[in-house]
C-alpha cells in the first residue's frame, strides 16, 4: 500500500469524538475506552496499534455497536458520513451518529455488515462450523442486497476468486474446518467485502496465521483496498505489520490516544514517550543481534488500578512529578502534523 494521505478537501468518512466505553462490573468500572477522537478518510488505511488492554478492539466494537454487556457507550459521537451522490459537494451528505442508534434496530443492522464490515481476528471462531462457508457468505449477501440466492451464489464465487481462493465454486461447499488457516482468512475477507463496504475494519487479521501467509493476506488487503478505494481501520499489536500497511497511525494505551500521525512520522519522528519507547524495545530483523534492548519498565497496569493523570506516567522516563500524575494531558497538535497527548511539549526542549 503506498503512503497516501487524504486530500485536504475531503470530508472524513467516520468521525469519532470523545468516545467513552465503560464496563460496569461488580468489582468496579473498567474504562476500556476513555475519551478517544479520530477521523478516518475515504481511501485511507487507518492503523490502530496498542498492547493488550489498550481498548483498540473495544473501540471498533463500539463503532459496529457490538459491545457486549456489561459494557456500554457512556458518551461520545460516532459520525458516519453517507455521500449524497452529488459530485458538487458534501452539503447534501447525510451524517449519522451511530452512538445514538438502537444497536439492534434495522438501520444499525443494515450498516453493520453492509456499509461497515469486520474481518475478525480468529476466522476459525468467526465461521459457524455447521454451515458451509458458501452458505454463510450467501446469507450475508441476500441480507444486504436485493438479489436471489442463485445470484448471490454467483457473487460469492466471484468474491472467492477475487481473494485468490483456488477452485472457488467447490470451496463454497466446504465447511470452515476443511479450509487451511490462510484460505479461511481469505474466505472471511470475501465475506467482509461481499456488500462493498465503505469502511472495512480488520481486527488483527493476521495474528493467527504464519508469516508467509501473513505476507499474502497483507498484500491481498492492499490490492483490494486499491481496487475498491474503501477505507480500512487496521488493528494490530505488531508494529512491523502496521508500518507495512497503514497510511495514518493511532497509538493507544489504556483506553486513551497517546499519539496519532502519518505513518512515516510515527516511525521516524515519534513524539510521545510511549511511542518512542515501544519502537526502541522491539527487536527488528534488521537490527544488531544480542545487544540489550532498551525496555519499558514495569508492565501494563490492571484495568482496576488505572494510574491517575496520564496513564503512562508510572512507566515513563520523562515523568514529571506533580504534573503527569495529577492532570490528564489533552491531545494537542504538533508542528509536523501529529496529535500528541503529553505535557512534554511545554518544556523548553520541546519537540525535536
Amino acid at each position: 500500500m503506498d503512503t497516501r494521505s487524504h486530500k485536504s478537501g475531503d470530508h472524513p468518512l467516520l468521525s469519532v469524538r470523545d468516545l467513552k466505553v465503560h464496563f460496569f462490573m461488580d468489582e468496579g468500572t473498567v474504562r476500556a475506552v476513555d475519551g478517544i477522537s479520530f477521523d478516518v478518510y475515504p481511501g485511507q488505511v487507518f492503523g490502530i496499534v496498542g498492547e493488550s488492554g489498550c481498548g483498540k478492539t473495544v473501540a471498533v466494537k463500539a463503532i459496529l455497536r457490538i459491545v457486549d454487556p456489561p459494557g456500554r457507550i457512556v458518551s461520545g459521537e460516532i459520525m458516519l458520513r453517507r455521500p449524497s451522490g452529488d459530485p458538487d459537494g458534501a452539503d447534501g451528505d447525510q451524517v449519522l451518529d451511530l452512538a445514538k442508534m438502537d444497536s439492534t434496530g434495522s438501520e444499525m443492522r443494515s450498516i453493520r455488515g453492509g456499509e461497515i464490515a469486520l474481518i475478525p481476528q480468529e476466522p476459525m471462531a468467526a465461521f459457524s462450523p455447521v454451515h458451509t462457508v458458501g452458505d454463510q457468505v450467501i446469507e450475508a449477501i441476500v441480507l444486504h442486497q436485493a438479489v436471489s440466492e442463485a445470484e448471490a451464489r454467483r457473487i460469492a464465487a466471484g468474491l472467492f476468486r477475487d481473494v485468490g481462493i483456488p477452485a472457488p465454486e467447490q470451496r463454497l461447499d466446504n465447511y470452515s474446518w476443511q479450509l487451511s488457516g490462510g484460505l479461511r482468512q481469505r474466505a472471511m475477507i470475501a465475506m467482509a467485502l461481499s456488500c462493498n463496504p465503505r469502511l472495512l475494519i480488520a481486527d488483527e487479521p493476521t495474528t493467527a496465521v504464519d508469516v508467509t501467509t501473513q505476507a499474502q493476506v497483507l498484500r491481498l488487503l492492499g490490492q483490494l483496498q486499491e481496487e475498491r478505494d474503501s477505507a480500512i481501520i487496521f488493528i494490530t499489536h505488531d508494529l512491523g505489520v502496521i508500518a507495512n500497511t497503514a497510511d495514518y497511525v493511532m497509538v493507544m494505551y489504556l483506553g486513551l490516544v497517546m499519539e496519532q500521525g502519518p505513518v512515516d512520522g510515527i516511525f521516524h519522528a515519534p513524539k510521545h514517550p510511549y511511542t518512542q519507547a515501544l519502537l526502541r524495545s522491539i527487536p527488528s530483523i534488521r537490527s544488531t543481534p544480542r545487544v540489550t534492548l532498551p525496555t519499558i519498565s514495569g508492565s501494563i497496569p490492571h484495568p482496576f488500578n488505572r494510574p491517575r493523570g496520564c496513564p503512562f506516567h508510572p512507566r515513563c522516563m520523562h515523568f514529571m512529578p506533580g504534573r503527569c500524575d495529577r492532570q490528564s494531558p489533552a491531545l494537542r497538535p504538533t508542528p509536523d502534523g501529529h496529535l500528541v497527548s503529553c505535557f512534554l511539549d511545554d518544556r523548553s526542549e520541546g519537540w525535536a
Binding site: 508467509t212 505488531d238 516511525f267 519502537l279 527487536p283 544480542r290 540489550t292 519499558i296 501494563i300
Partner: protein
Amino acid sequence: MKALSQEPRPLLDVRGLRMYFPIQRGFTRRIVGYVRAVDDVSFTVGAGETVGLVGESGCGKTTAARCILRAYSPTGGEILFQTAEGAVVDLAKLTRREIRPLRSQVQMIFQDPYGSLNPRMTIFDTVGEPLLVNGLTDRQRRLERVAELLARVGLRPEYMQRFPHAFSGGQRQRIGIARALALNPRLVVADEPVSALDVSVQAQILNLLLDLQRELGLTYLFIAHNLSVVKHICDRVVVMYVGKIVESATTQELYSKPGHPYTSALMAAVPVPDPRYKIGSVELKGEVPSPANPPSGCYFHPRCPYAVDLCGTHAPALQEVSPGHLVGCHRVGELKLPGVA
C-alpha cells in the same frame, strides 16, 4: 555410543531424530499412515550456546523439543546428552525410570504464562516444587533458595506467598523461568517464551534470558517462529520445514547469506517496523503442506520460485556450503538469494 572426536563434545547432539505419529482409522483403529512430524533431524547444541529452532506452524520444531525432553518417545534416532557427571547418554533410548535423575538437567520454559502455572499453587510452591521433589525437604532452605531465584529473575521475594492471578503476563513468565532454573539445569528448552507477551514486555524477558545466560552459563534451545526475536537471541539457527531441516548456520551467516529459498522467503515475509521498508517482493504462494501427506521430492518444491524438474522427484540432502553452514537444496551453488543485513 560413538567414540569421542577431537573437538569438545557438544552438550546436546541430536542425530537422525524421527518422530512419527500413526494415523488411525475406523473401528479397529487400524494404522493407515504416519504423520512424519520430525523426520531425520540432526543438529548439535554446544555448552553455553543458544541455538534457535525456527519454522512455521507444523514444521516439527515443538515436537523435536518434546522428544529431547522425552515428553514423547522418539520413533528413531539418537539424542546424545552430556550429563553433569561427564557421561554421554542417549536420551532417546532411556526408560522413564532411567531418565528421571536426568530431568533436573534439562528444563523447559513454556509459551503460555497463563496456562503453565497452577492457579491453586503459590509462587513459593510452584518454584519450590522441583526443589522438594529433588530432596530439599528443609522448608527454611527452600524459602531461601526460592527467594534467591525470584530475585535473580527480577521479582520481589516478598511476593512468594501470592498466587499466579496476582501477576501480569511478563511476571508470570519470570516465575516460569525461576522454576526452570531452580535445579541449575545444563540445558534450557524455551518454547516460544515471548510470543504470548505484550511488545513492551517481550524486550524485558529477552534481556533477562541473555543476562541469565551470561551469569549462569546456560545453554538454550530456543524455539520460535519470530525471526526477529531469533536473530536477536541466537548464536546459531536451524530452519525446519515440514519435519525436516532445510538449513542451519550461524545467525550472522544465515541472515546475511541464506542458502535455501525457504529461509530467504521466510525472512522476506517478516514485516520490518519501518514504513520505508516494504515486505519483500519474493512472495511464497500456497501454504505449508501437511506432514501427513507431504509433496514428492523436496517438500518445498511446489512453493519454490526456483524449482527445477529434479526438485519434484528427488529429495535433496544437506550439503555443507561453508564450515558449519548446511543447506538442503539441489540448486545451492547457483542461487544468489537475498538476506537481511
